[in-house]
């Protein structure tokens, strides 16, 4: 029986926390080069949530939009996507015109009716969805309806300390995950302890967050293609978790390993490769850019992560633009999404970024836009090898794995599903449950959440 507490809603939001927390222009549709013909000339105010202007890639694209649509007054609410802020604005009847959010949670909002379908927008603005990488498009399309325009394709590759590999008589083939026995052997050789303390992690499997990658490499998925059925108790998922747990055990166990990992100066010049604290790990592509900036000459080698048949495979994530239900200026929002993801806009942004890096005498490692056409254009006209073998080779690997990317499908309970499997992996890492028991419990929790959300 529906009740109508419109007035009470904002108060209730406060209460849930206060009671308990108290004291609680004219070019390219996405990928194409069409003119966006068909959409009316937008004007008025346009507000965004979840988007910031941290670098030239964002700034240059926004500048391109402003130049193309001078009659639109753009209000960028800097900062990452904040569910609390978004929900409050929706409950208050004043949602932003655009949200910029992780593609992994887009399905949750779309399936609850919080986002506008974009099929008409795609048609009006001639956005070529086929130009986007399939792994990106899959995350914003639910039952054939588009709910978001994707940006970026963050892929995972293996980065290793080349000096450590050489000193241990290893090659990238030992750490590319195609042969799990080889990875275990490499882990044993690369892991070092001094004075009872871990001083180097051999091979960090990046648990819990990379379980989907290990599962896929073992021929399984943690959720069905339609995003409605959890498959966490699949024997191959259990096998993948059991294997990765064995790597952590080789390093002295989770508590010891994580405690050491938490000390890494991950984004600094004294990062784990510069300090010889890590042999190898699978990691998101952005990290090559980090290393290019803070320690470009650190001895690393990049290789693709491979499945057990030896084929490159990569787990991908990324961001997306979407229009919330109740947005006051959907026309301008549609024009904005088209312009921000158009090939020409991406190329202009890449040029600005390359120029900025050059002025700082830093290597430019390219931009992976999630838009195949834009990527091809950027890497054929803007990108120039830095002349540093490790980085140049790394960029080649990153480009090569783009077509091997998979992603988790949109799910009505994305956040709960993720929490269920990540908590399960943590319980197993802490030794409180076996891989089998932890994933069986997670399967129950995840399926219950998916079923409830789908009602």
């Amino acid at each position: 029986m529906p009740v109508r507490p419109r007035v009470l809603v904002p108060l209730a939001l406060l209460a849930a926390v206060s009671v308990a927390c108290g004291g609680v222009g004219g070019s390219g549709g996405g990928g194409g080069d069409s003119d966006g013909a068909g959409g009316a000339e937008p004007k008025g105010s346009l507000s965004t949530l979840g988007f910031g202007l941290p670098d030239e890639i964002a700034k240059a694209r926004v500048a391109t939009f402003k130049k193309a649509y001078p009659d639109v007054s753009l209000k960028i609410n800097e900062g990452g996507f904040d569910a609390q802020q978004f929900l409050s604005s929706v409950a208050g009847g004043n949602p932003p015109d655009l949200v910029y959010l992780d593609r992994n949670i887009l399905g949750t909002y779309a399936e609850r009716g919080a986002l506008e379908p974009l099929d008409q927008c795609v048609k009006d603005r001639a956005i070529d969805m086929a130009a986007f990488r399939p792994a990106a498009t899959a995350q914003v399309t639910i039952d054939g309806t588009v709910f978001g325009i994707p940006e970026f394709l963050s892929v995972r590759v293996v980065i290793a300390n080349s000096q450590d590999l050489k000193a241990s008589g290893l090659t990238t083939a030992d750490v590319d995950a195609s042969d799990w026995d080889k990875v275990s052997a490499a882990n044993a050789k690369l892991t070092k302890s001094e004075g009872g303390k871990l001083s180097r992690i051999g091979f960090d499997p990046k648990l819990p967050e990379f379980l989907p990658l290990w599962a896929r490499a073992n021929g399984a998925s943690i959720i069905s293609d339609d995003g409605r059925t959890a498959t966490l108790d699949d024997p191959k998922v259990v096998e993948a978790l059991s294997y990765t747990l064995s790597l952590v055990k080789q390093e002295g166990g989770w508590s010891r390993m994580k405690s050491f990992r938490d000390t890494f100066d991950f984004f600094g010049a004294k990062n784990q490769f510069a300090q010889d604290q890590l042999g190898a790990f699978p990691i998101e592509d952005f990290y090559l850019n980090v290393l290019a900036e803070v320690s470009p000459k650190v001895p690393i080698v990049v290789t693709s992560f491979k499945d057990r048949q030896g084929q490159p495979i990569t787990y991908s994530t990324g961001l997306a633009w979407a229009i919330p239900k109740g947005a006051k200026n959907p026309d301008a929002a549609c024009a904005f999404m088209q312009k921000m993801t158009a090939t020409d806009t991406w190329v202009a942004a890449a040029k600005a970024k390359a120029k900025e890096r050059k002025s700082k005498k830093l290597p430019f490692t390219g931009v992976f836009t999630g838009n195949r056409e834009a990527d091809d254009e950027i890497f054929s006209t803007v990108y120039q090898p830095a002349g540093i073998a490790s980085l140049d080779n790394g960029v080649k690997v990153l480009r090569s794995v783009q077509e091997h990317a998979f992603s988790l499908p949109p799910s009505p309970a994305g956040a709960e599903f993720e929490k269920a499997w990540q908590d399960a992996v943590t319980r197993a890492l802490e030794g409180r449950q076996s891989a089998q028991a932890a994933l069986e419990e997670a399967q129950q929790q995840a399926q219950k959440a998916l079923d409830q959300a789908a009602k």
């Binding site: 009740v3 308990a20 609850r112």
Partner: protein
């Protein structure tokens, strides 16, 4: 005006004046009353209503009766998070009160000027933003490179992995919580300063030692302040959120791989509300916590009647 008339008029005027005074009092209280009704009582009633619904903010709530409360009773995460919170409270409150009293007693022995300096020093950490405290203690408590284990190492003790070993996560959080003892110290110091000197002198004449004077003079005299801090610290501990959320759940990186041992009740409530969009369920969780706090507070008040000394009652 005769003396008799004046005598009759005076109480009437006094009553009128009192009424005016009462009206003025209410006028000055009005901002708080409005704030309380709009921002506390109203939301509490709304959350009570929502606790009987299934509501995700994005669509209209639908009435589900007592389903949320039944779910609360069977949800293992509720028991786990409540257990973590009560465990923390049981460790933190007595420890914080004992340490604060010790520090206040030391401060009370200092001269006024140096006491003021140290009072400021002890209170300064309270001014540190809780988020900064959370980040700071992630570094201090690190099992490999943290200062706390380095200090233990000086005594030949190999410290545990405070932030990653489930058995040591809550004790680590208790250590963190001692960072902001300052408020309690200041309250105790004020209470100690109010203990009449002649009581100590009389006790000395009776031949008592320092321990006896503390037990039979100081403690009864400051028992009101002790009781106040017991109530306030217990409620704050049961609502512990910001520091722990920052340390273990603040972003994707910290959240993935964070142990259940750090899942405090209000964090679980927040996750249900704003990560999983279960506003109705989160409201029922809030009301359960309200009841838990109410019961504990009532018990504390009842017990306190036997131990707390109020001078005004005595007089």
């Amino acid at each position: 005006m005769t003396a008799e008339t004046a005598a009759v008029v005076r109480p009437a005027r006094l009553a009128a004046w009192r009424r005016r005074e009462t009206r003025w009092a209410y006028l000055f209280l009005l901002p708080w009353i409005v704030g309380f009704l709009v921002f506390t009582l109203g939301p509490m009633i709304a959350s009570l209503v929502l606790s009987f619904t299934s509501y995700d903010v994005l669509s209209s709530p639908s009435f589900v009766g007592l389903d949320n409360y039944r779910e609360v009773m069977s949800d293992p995460a509720v028991a786990r998070s409540l257990g973590n919170t009560v465990f923390y409270t049981a460790l933190h409150v007595p420890l914080a009160m004992t340490l604060s009293m010790g520090l206040a007693l030391l401060l009370n022995r200092l001269g006024r000027r140096s006491s003021g300096f140290f009072r400021t020093v002890f209170y300064l950490p309270v001014m540190t933003p809780p988020v900064a405290v959370g980040v700071l203690f992630l570094l201090l408590l690190n099992g490999q490179t943290g200062l706390i284990n380095a200090a233990l190492g000086l005594f030949g003790v190999q410290g545990p992995n405070w932030t990653t070993d489930p058995a040591w996560i809550k004790p680590g959080i208790v250590i963190l919580s001692l960072w902001s003892l300052g408020s309690t110290v200041v309250i105790y110091l004020a209470a100690l300063r109010n203990v009449p000197e002649e009581l100590y002198e009389a006790a000395k004449v009776d031949g008592t030692n320092a321990r006896q004077r503390f037990r039979h003079v100081t403690l009864p005299q400051v028992s009101g302040a002790v009781f106040f801090t017991l109530i306030v610290n217990t409620i704050a501990s049961l609502q512990m959120f910001t520091e722990v959320y920052t340390m273990y759940f603040g972003n994707k990186q910290t959240q993935s791989g964070s142990s259940d041992a750090a899942l405090f009740y209000v964090i679980y409530l927040f996750q249900q509300a704003f990560q999983f969009l279960h506003m109705g369920y989160a409201s029922s969780l809030a009301w359960l916590l309200f009841v838990v706090i109410l019961v504990i507070t009532v018990v504390q008040v009842r017990v306190a009647k036997r131990f707390v000394y109020y001078e005004s009652e005595n007089s």
